[in-house]
Amino acid sequence: MKNKEPLKSFNPDTDPLISVKNLQKNFKGLHALNGVSLDIYKGDVIFVVGPSGSGKSTFLRCLNRLEEPSGGEVYFEGVEITDRNVDINKHRQKMGMVFQQFNLFPHMTVLKNMTQAPVKLQHIPKADAEAEAMKLLERVGLADRANSYPNQLSGGQKQRIAIVRALCMKPDVMLFDEPTSALDPEMVGEVLQVMRGLAEEKMTMVVVTHEMAFAREVASKIVFMAEGQILESGTPDEFFNHPKTDRLKQFLDKIL
């Protein structure tokens, strides 16, 4: 498979990093996504919220084709990655993903978890990859756990490792699917702290979460989904203080 080049030259400062056009996803008759369109620019911190089953995870997972869209297009850095002939593995290297269940590799040490992909896929010398991993570990306060195995870590530690594991690939965007939902309450803070740091460094992020206070604090834009569609999107202020649709008003009433 060859890599499809962008049709025109992609300008990261003016063109959307990710452009989603009329995205559809059917699960055997069930319409999980009904035409979702969204432009995500470099440095955006997009929060996706909405009731359970509204298609938030499906949307996020379609962005790196972990879920295969049934229709519509996703452009990433100017390349249509929903094109079947595109080498999706190449593009996924630039899209970090963090899962609710951490999904660390239990048979590898923390350091190996982090360096495996850069070493094997980007052919970075092992020593360099490890130095980079140690730097990231220090940043999230887990340098002393480099040689631990995942099952020796707490949930909060696991998720922080999962984040830096994705960062080791030097991604251009980070996708988060409810990164704190599987955590004990006292561990949520440490993970949000890491994400806050990323947002401050202008990392482009798409975050599915139920942490409304956190969304209000760090989002550049909040997207409200229901029944497989984006019903409303705007700044945190517009979202919380001036909701336009009844659906969003109901949703906010229920959760705030």
Binding site: N64, E68, R92, N103, Y149, A166
Partner: protein, 251 residues
């Protein structure tokens, strides 16, 4: 005569008889060599058959679970996969649906009929191919039992399907199925005892040769049984040890 001297006489008779039998069956004409050489053959056949079984089993299991998981791929690849999967299914059905002895006889008298070939090689092929079918189902179960999230995490980092299998899924599967693979080794060790049907002089056949020469069945056959038992006990111990080490490497 009191009862103790009668018993004493019996006991000394017994030991004398035992000594004679032992001498006849194992020492005379260096008959013990039938057992030692036979054990060597049995271990050799088992070891190589297990290796073939594991290789074949993993291959078949990977093909089958790739086929089951197959998401997006070109239609040519899908076609190839369908064909491979079909072949695997036929292999599994035939091997698991017929006795291993029949398979051994067919491979020796039909498939290798026209060539002069080392009998232990035939046995290795037959038991390896047989074992592969059972290992395949063990490994497939092992692959299926791995959390889908592991697969997704690998793919999301940019590993392709094969790399995700190789770096992430297979190592975990291997660890999970190791106890079952150990059992397979033990089962195979005992199953190879039918290799005498193609006149391969394995451990069982060795004992049987002694029996046919000395016309005493008890001692050579008990010796054969004892050696199998000892092997199995040792293997079970090793298996436990290995499992414990693997487990502690994650603690």
């Amino acid at each position: 005569m009191n009862i103790f001297s009668v018993m004493g006489e019996d006991i000394s008779n017994f030991f004398q008889q035992f000594g004679n039998d032992f001498y006849l069956n194992f020492v005379k004409n260096a008959r013990w060599k039938y057992l030692v050489n036979g054990l060597g053959v049995t271990l050799k056949v088992t070891l190589f058959a297990v290796l073939i079984g594991i290789a074949l089993g993993f291959l078949v299991a990977i093909i089958r679970s790739t086929h089951d998981k197959a998401g997006t791929m070109s239609s040519l690849l899908k076609f190839v996969l369908n064909v491979l999967n079909f072949i695997c299914n036929v292999y599994l059905t035939v091997i698991r649906g017929t006795p291993v002895l029949v398979q051994l006889l067919i491979i020796y008298f039909v498939i290798f009929a026209s060539v002069r070939i080392d009998k232990s090689f035939v046995a290795i092929v037959a038991f390896g191919v047989n074992s592969g079918a059972y290992v395949a189902e063990i490994v497939r179960g092992g692959i299926m039992s791995i959390d889908q999230g592991q697969f997704e995490a690998g793919r999301s980092l940019g590993f392709n399907f094969a790399q995700t299998m190789w770096y992430i899924i297979i190592p975990q599967t291997f660890k999970n199925v190791l106890p079952a693979l150990g059992n397979e080794f033990i089962v195979l060790l005992k199953e190879t005892s039918v290799a005498g049907y193609i006149a391969l002089e394995d451990l069982t056949k060795g004992g049987d040769i002694i029996r046919s020469q000395t016309f005493s069945a008890l001692m050579p056959l008990l010796a054969v049984a004892a050696i199998y038992l000892l092997m199995v006990v040792i293997l079970s111990r090793l298996q436990k040890l290995l499992e414990r080490r693997l487990r502690s490497s994650e603690k």
